[in-house]
């Protein structure tokens, strides 16, 4: 016999009521309580030097847990995925407690980070002081929004054997000298390859230093006045055009960061601007190429020699339930015993921003990396001389300076590309 209709209706109603109540309870449940053992989670890019990541999981984290009882979880993600991950944590207020910042992420997420000025000053005082680049990398509106960790410098990578074929034993000192060598090498089918596409580092890595070395800049030191439209910028653009035309492969206009690494291993190019990854990978996978690969500081222009500051730093989220524990952990991590070991396993790919490491044994392992240390003296964030700002982050994200040079190389006039960049920058900096 079928159940009375009313009974079924009641049952459905009850079911819906319970389901709604359950769902509401689940959604409105407070943050899940952590287990008794405290845990600090660090979000990091997966380093291209695997032992660097392994050193944290196999050495540092167990040591800290043994010492304090606090578990350290080291989460890695690709550098390209890092901003998405940090955005999610910042917006939801949940996830990792400490995040690694690369490029200009410190500006984008600075509001969500703790001011760690006292900690940073103490660490700096105890270990020889910070490089100016270290302060520039992490200070937002005068506050230390992260503890500087290192720079991942960009240098000139050059083939010593091919340069020797045209009589060059020492890397050229100026852009003009490099241009003359490049012409000869291209004629011998050993062109240069400098990224002019929309990658994340190797384009900015040489184009901003080129602009500065000719006296140009995006914005004045006040962080508001756009100054890209200048004779100095025009001279840099003119140089870049001829440098591209007479020394490089044509397809660099579409390159991203992986392209020059690949071209180097394929022996297609004789000179590029890159981080240490080319030499590191060549030594392991292509030893013959590794032997004839060297690194040098960027060439000087009429107004000096510059490098890009491509810093790595660690920030503590202000909403982290273990922020005090995270501060204590960062203090422990930045002590010479831990920090020195971590730097040492990375073959100086990460260049310390503390003067206390200027003569550390890590620099003796591969003398070809020493220019990375020396480059820190004149390394700056992309918008220099302006301080770091959201407008700067937007300008970099839109590749305004990169595109200014790239469009000139593709055939546009110097006047047009500068006018275009000027208009875009003024639009961005209107809100400054």
């Amino acid at each position: 016999m079928a159940k009375p209709a009313s009974s079924t209706a009641t049952s459905r109603r009850k079911f819906l009521k319970y389901a709604a109540a359950g769902a509401t309870a689940a959604i409105s449940r407070p943050w899940p309580a952590r287990a008794d053992q405290k845990t600090i989670t660090i979000l990091h890019e997966s380093s291209f030097i695997k032992p660097f990541d392994e050193y944290v999981t196999n050495t540092l984290a167990p040591a800290y847990e043994k010492e304090t009882g606090i578990k350290v979880v080291y989460e890695v993600t690709s550098v390209g995925s890092l901003p998405t991950r940090i955005s999610t944590i910042a917006e939801t207020g949940s996830g990792a407690d400490i995040a690694m910042n690369a490029l200009l992420q410190i500006i984008q997420f600075g509001e969500k980070y703790l001011d760690v000025g006292d900690l940073a000053e103490e660490i700096g005082k105890a270990q020889g002081g910070w490089y100016d680049a270290g302060r520039e990398a992490v200070q937002v509106n005068g506050q230390w929004k992260a503890i500087p960790f290192s720079n991942i410098g960009q240098l000139m990578n050059w083939r010593t054997d091919w340069f020797a074929e045209v009589g060059v034993k020492k890397f050229p000192d100026t852009w003009e000298e490099l241009y003359e060598v490049g012409k000869k090498l291209k004629a011998k089918d050993h062109p240069f390859g400098f990224e002019l596409g929309h990658g994340f580092g190797d384009n900015h890595g040489w184009l901003y230093p080129l602009l500065w070395s000719y006296g140009g800049a995006e914005v004045a030191a006040d962080g508001k006045t756009v100054v890209i439209d200048s004779d100095e910028t025009a001279r840099a653009v003119d140089f870049c055009r001829k440098f591209f035309k007479d020394t490089m492969l044509d397809d660099v206009l579409g390159w991203t960061d992986v392209s020059n690494n690949k071209a180097w291993m394929a022996e297609q190019i004789s000179c590029t601007n890159n981080a240490e990854s080319i030499l590191w990978f060549a030594k392991r996978e292509f030893p013959e190429i590794g032997k004839v690969t060297d690194q040098a500081m960027n060439p000087a222009g009429p107004k000096g020699r510059f490098h890009l500051l491509n810093s790595i730093s660690h920030s503590i989220f202000s909403f982290s339930p273990v922020r005090e524990e995270a501060r204590t952990f960062m203090h422990w991590l930045m002590q010479p015993k831990q920090l020195g070991g971590w730097y040492a396993v990375a073959d100086s790919y990460y260049q310390p921003l503390l003067h206390g490491y200027d003569n550390a044994p890590m620099w003796n392992v591969e003398p070809r990396n020493i220019p990375y240390r020396d480059a820190l003296a004149n390394a700056h964030l992309p918008g220099w001389p302006a301080p770091a700002s959201r407008q700067l982050a937007e300008s970099v994200a839109k590749y305004i300076v990169v595109d200014m040079f790239a469009k000139a190389c593709a055939g546009a006039s110097t006047k047009d590309v500068i006018r275009n960049a000027d208009a875009q920058l003024k639009e961005i900096y209107r809100s400054a």
């Binding site: 449940r29 291209f48 695997k50 890695v76 993600t77 690709s78 995925s81 939801t92 949940s94 990978f281």
Partner: protein, 281 residues
């Protein structure tokens, strides 16, 4: 008998287009396969013909299987895709059947809403969903993606099944109802068995979407042990500006095998129209 002229015409009209599309479809797999078995020295050598392999090696496969957690990622991916697909199919049927067969106020609006929901891009949803997942304490569990994938799969399955359900003749259900079957019995014993090809199509697509999903998996699964293949290979085989091409291609190839097997296994059911002729006789 096919004359010489007819044979040429047959080749031009049939085999040439087939060959063209075959090359188009299979070339990526061929490229993945040869890249995965090339030693690095050959992979980066600009002077060798890129379409052939001179000294094949299994090193990239060995490295992938022994130096990364690829097998674990594969297991995670299959588990997540299978469960999310099953949930989505059940919910999809529950949504599509009334829309296809019952008349009620707002049915058209609901059908349109289903389509509209499917069109909402993931980048708009991942932060609110991350908040919900965190509040439920499901971060870093496979349950997080098993529960969130249906948000995109249910509308997809429902929309696909809605179209399929409408092709099933109503007369079959009416006949069953006349014979005394309840609506539920009609649905379970008459209607749904006829829709097997629709379920297979929706299931295969849902499984493939789940298997390839990247954004939610990237956000919700941060530990190596719970990662799926797309996130695992990107996170651990792309290091800075160095791409481990051989291992990446080996991973992509191995990762595509399960779906290829499922497609080939069900292709007959997928293509066959089981309802054809069902009202005759």
């Amino acid at each position: 008998m096919v004359t010489g002229h007819g044979r040429i015409e047959h080749i031009v009209r049939v085999w040439l287009p087939v060959a063209f599309f075959l090359v188009l479809a299979l070339f990526p797999f061929y490229w993945m396969a040869i890249t995965s078995i090339k030693p690095n020295a050959e992979l980066y050598n600009k002077n060798v013909m890129p379409l052939i392999v001179r000294a094949p090696t299994l090193k990239h496969y060995v490295d992938l299987l022994t130096k990364s957690s690829f097998l674990l990622w594969t297991w995670n991916t299959m588990l997540v895709a299978a469960v999310a697909t099953a949930i989505s199919l059940v919910l999809g049927v529950m949504l599509a059947y009334p829309l296809a067969r019952m008349r009620f106020a707002g049915a058209g609006l609901i059908a349109m809403t289903v389509a509209a929901i499917y069109l909402v891009p993931q980048p708009l949803l991942f932060i609110p969903l991350a908040d919900v997942i965190n509040r439920l304490g499901l971060g870093n569990t496979l349950t997080s993606v098993i529960l969130t994938y249906p948000t995109m799969l249910v509308p997809f399955c429902a929309w696909l099944l809605l179209g399929y359900f409408k092709t099933v003749p109503k007369e079959l259900e009416e006949a069953a109802r006349i014979d005394g079957a309840s609506r539920l019995q009609t649905m379970r014993q008459v209607f749904l068995p006829l829709c097997t090809p629709g379920f297979i199509s929706a299931g295969i697509f849902a499984f493939t979407l789940s298997q390839n999903e990247f954004l939610y998996a990237l956000i919700f699964l941060t530990k190596t042990t719970v990662r799926t293949v797309p996130v695992g290979v990107i996170s651990e085989l792309i290091r800075g500006d160095v791409f481990y091409w051989g291992q990446l291609m080996a991973g992509a190839l191995l990762g595509s095998i399960p779906v290829a097997l499922i497609y080939s296994f069900f292709v007959e059911h997928y293509v066959a129209g089981l309802t054809t002729g069902s009202v005759k006789g």
